[in-house]
Symmetry: C2
Subunit: 194 residues, 2 copies
Amino acid sequence: MRSPRKLINNGNIYVGLVHYPVYDRKGNIVATAVTTVDIHDIARSAKTFDVKGFYVITPLESQNQLVQKLLRHWVEGRGATYNPTRQAALSLVKVEESMERAIGDISRHWNSEVKVVATGARLHRENIGYYQLREILLEAAQPFLLLFGTGWGLTEEVIRNSDYILAPIEGSHYNHLSVRSAAAIILDRLLGRG
Amino acid sequence: MRSPRKLINNGNIYVGLVHYPVYDRKGNIVATAVTTVDIHDIARSAKTFDVKGFYVITPLESQNQLVQKLLRHWVEGRGATYNPTRQAALSLVKVEESMERAIGDISRHWNSEVKVVATGARLHRENIGYYQLREILLEAAQPFLLLFGTGWGLTEEVIRNSDYILAPIEGSHYNHLSVRSAAAIILDRLLGRG
């Protein structure tokens, strides 16, 4: 289906699942609750495509604790023995209270600027296509953070402040994938061997 | 990322989510419980890629009733008003007690043989690639049913009795995507505009 392609070194690519700031169904800017199936599914997709790390971004202490508890069970606790493949995926997860802190964490690790890629279901004039972004990732030396919004998506401010705005998955009539499915498809399009 | 491609008429393509017969973690053949997030996510992916119908296949009456209840809420009940995009996706769902009945239903509708495509995380000697299957779908006049296994995957017997066995998403070290993510990626690879 795809033309023969070079392999991407995914060791500089990170995923961020943003729970704040995002829109709710009415367009208000809110902090959403963490959904555990998002964390499991996106961690498994990230591991499949050799992503370097997966930041769960939430400013809410209760939600941070919920993710920490999940990680203790699956990464260190009984879940790790019960299902080692789940341990391997969830080992990629870190919780941060803001996008800025996630970016700072990556930046310190690389001693480099971090390029931020916003994703979403809406078309933007500045959208970059999958082929173009794949080419950029292939050449890039600095780290990249792909942001996925929960709820009704990343705010316009977050999108405008990103270095790249990735095109929606389908430009057509129905753009209502779950964030889990959207992340799976986008990682496959950017990093998969096809 | 992909070469320019013809659009596929997806009007003859169906998805089946198989809860029996599938393997459990020990390799026993079992009937798994229905997971509602599977139904929501795969229905939304199916709608995104214009799939004709989505069969939830379970022989268990309790599980059949659970899905019917979910559909009543989202397709006819208060969920339909609350979230019309969810209604649009879940309108694709039908419940059948076996793969044979799902195939029979499609076959009667088309008055035609149904080609069955098995998916899974394991390599098979007879695997067909994504590009090849996409070309076949493009030319095909008869209906196709793509089968996804829950639990630890479709049984070898189901796989061997299929017309095509689709290659795993990545042939590499980590093949533990959720069925929701796998279905999203596979529908995108076969039917997406990229």
